[in-house]
Symmetry: C2
Subunit: 181 residues, 2 copies
DNA sequence: AGCACAAGCGGACCATGGTCCGCACATGTC
DNA sequence: GACATGTGCGGACCATGGTCCGCTTGTGCT
């Protein structure tokens, strides 16, 4: 079905023009020239539509840490990879923050049920197992990911005005402190 | 104005009966015997109404770590107080999770703009300053609080089924690892 | 008491995410 | 070509959070 593409293009266009929060589902349907029902039949809900728009960029990031070049991908030490993962995720949020934030808003806890969170968690957990810090690894993995949550990072960047490099430095410090343990 | 009390009581009653998510603003207005406009004039929005319902319990918790007995309140070492703070917050979420979750859902980033977050942040930051770990203190404070976020804790407890004691143990381990640095 | 004024209340109204059903059209069969 | 069947589309409809305005009610002055 070509409708799916038309909808995603219409949505992207409107998001660029007006910002994600100012685009209603009705507006997307109209811009795409389809009925509103079609949007919801194809995507289920608003959040899923936003994920679909993000998918390309999300896949690229995941490819990067699963199969890409070191230090993000395999080949570097676990501590270096963990640092690179956080820095990469911060960059990803820098580029796609608005969309990510909107995609996670609404249903509470959605974030954790997403396959994306599963992939991140599995990755961080496997790096922690390799690095063997003296803490509960599962707990630490959630804790580290919480530090990189879109909501927090967006708040640090835009409400508090902390610059990206400072966040990356904070992340490096945190990871090193934890792995030293 | 006695309306405020009537509304809060009606809301609490309905929340207990049906669960927070199954109670609409219209239902609260009807139960309280007031117009819907009155709800919004008094509280501004749904989230603020929920905070008002929570206020007593929230204030008690904050009193506890600001002025209460050690180790939660003043008198213990910073590391012990930080551990007690996290355990106390976990207990608080255990008791009020549903309401807290609902109160934070909706507006993204609301969590961080709340005076509650400000109070927690200031507290954690001051304990960290006292404990002097070798990390960026502001970054670490946000990171620690992110670990205790209602959304994450509720997910760990109810979707993943991790028990409260395990979370507390994880928190203790995390804090000790960080302060060792 | 009668009147002028202010406060604040109620519920009609709006926007938006999400649902649902009748219909149009494409496809397959004779 | 005519007809049966199924897919999937559109937009009316619903629920809910939030807004707004006209009116009631209480207050103070004469």
């Amino acid at each position: 079905m070509r409708n799916r593409e038309r909808i995603l293009e219409a949505a992207s266009r409107l998001f660029d023009e007006r910002g994600v929060d100012c685009v209603s589902m009705d507006a997307i349907a109209e811009e795409a020239g389809v009925g509103k029902g079609t949007l919801f039949r194809r995507f289920g809900d608003r959040s899923a539509l936003l994920w679909a728009v993000l998918q390309e960029s999300e896949t690229a990031f995941q490819e990067g840490f699963i199969r890409g070049p070191a230090p993000l991908g395999p080949g570097a030490r676990a501590d270096e990879r963990l640092i690179a993962f956080g820095e990469g995720l911060l960059d990803h949020v820098e580029r796609n923050g608005e969309l990510l934030l909107a995609a996670l808003t609404g249903v509470p806890g959605l974030r954790f049920r997403t396959p994306v969170y599963g992939a991140y968690l599995a990755h961080v957990l496997s790096l922690l197992r390799e690095a063997r810090p003296a803490v509960d690894l599962e707990y630490a993995a959630d804790a580290l990911l919480a530090t990189l949550s879109v909501e927090l990072v967006m708040h640090q960047r835009h409400a508090r005005g902390i610059d990206l490099e400072t966040l990356k430095a904070g992340w490096r410090g945190l990871v090193r402190a934890l792995l030293r343990a």
